[in-house]
Amino acid sequence: MIFVTVGTYNFDELIGKIDAIANGFDEEIIGQIGNGEYIPKNYKFFRYAPSLNSYYDNARIIIGHGGAGTIFDILNRGKTFIGLSSPLVTDEHQIDLLDKLAKENYILWCKEIEQLGKHIELLKTIKLKRYEPPPCFMDKVIVDFLRK
């Protein structure tokens, strides 16, 4: 299954692009479309769900925007992710994150939405690296600070 997620807001360009290429895939596609206006005709969709966990876990490929919450939730499940920067975000910080993670080979970054179909095909031949979080001692830093 290919799962497409837009998170809290919307990403009509992505939901529409998937709709345009959906019939070319012999795999189920499910979309989480947020508060978007574009209604997909060629694949199943819903707006929001209390949890996306079961969709993430059942997906072979997940496609979404470059927000940290979405990406790291997916990477920590060992799932394959194709990321696109959301046009809703006014500065370029999603590009920084997508660029960084793509350079590390943890994700596939689709810079041009027209290339999305090609990127999905590309995953048949290339292998992404399994994400490992860095050592974390944030809890210790915060607790020590709170007890000062």
């Binding site: 809290t8 790291f72 999603q94 830093v141």
Partner: protein, 174 residues
């Protein structure tokens, strides 16, 4: 951190703004579960956050104010936002007093600004964690909080220490 069982848990308020920031914040809360008693302030447009909380605590809802990256901040927009900012400030003051929070933790979100100001007015500690979506730049809220409000400012990428030289890097919980 040695006397885990005997040391009482510290009341701390966690601010939950939009989806992605909620994921980051709750990963951190889960790591702190042995040491803090969380209470939550949740933006009203982030109702799904409630379902994602694993360490239970009392919840207060506030109207969102002061977005950073999803809206363009113009003067008229800013004036319109003043009302929601003030109401968020009052609700935050009540919450922090009622639950005797020692600190507020916010992960990189503009709407938490009123709650941060409330915490400062009450002389509570402000812990601000810049979102992991930032690597080479400052968020609008992070920039202001870094300069004027944060008692502990944490970044989640080593590269961010170039952007925020006085910040603390302590890895990432995800």
């Amino acid at each position: 951190m040695n006397n885990k069982k005997t040391t009482p848990k510290i009341p701390v308020t966690i601010f939950l703004a939009i989806g992605g920031h909620t994921y980051e914040a709750l990963c951190i809360v889960n790591k702190l579960s042995l040491y803090i008693q969380p209470s939550y302030i949740i933006c009203e447009d982030n109702l799904l956050a409630e379902h994602k909380i694993e360490i239970p605590g009392p919840i207060t809802n506030i109207k969102p104010s002061l977005y950073s990256s999803y809206r363009k901040i113009t003067l008229s927009y800013f004036l319109l936002e003043i009302h929601s900012f003030l109401s968020a400030l009052v609700v935050s003051l009540k919450h922090l007093k009622k639950f005797k929070s020692h600190a507020i933790i916010s992960v990189g979100s503009g709407p938490s600004f009123a709650t941060i100001v409330a915490a400062k007015l009450l002389r509570k500690k402000v812990i601000f964690i810049e979102s992991a979506c930032r690597i080479k730049s400052r968020s609008m809220c992070g920039n202001i909080v870094y300069k004027f409000f944060a008692d502990l400012f944490i970044v989640q990428w080593k590269e961010q220490l170039k952007v925020y030289p006085k910040a603390t890097y302590a890895g990432r919980p995800f």
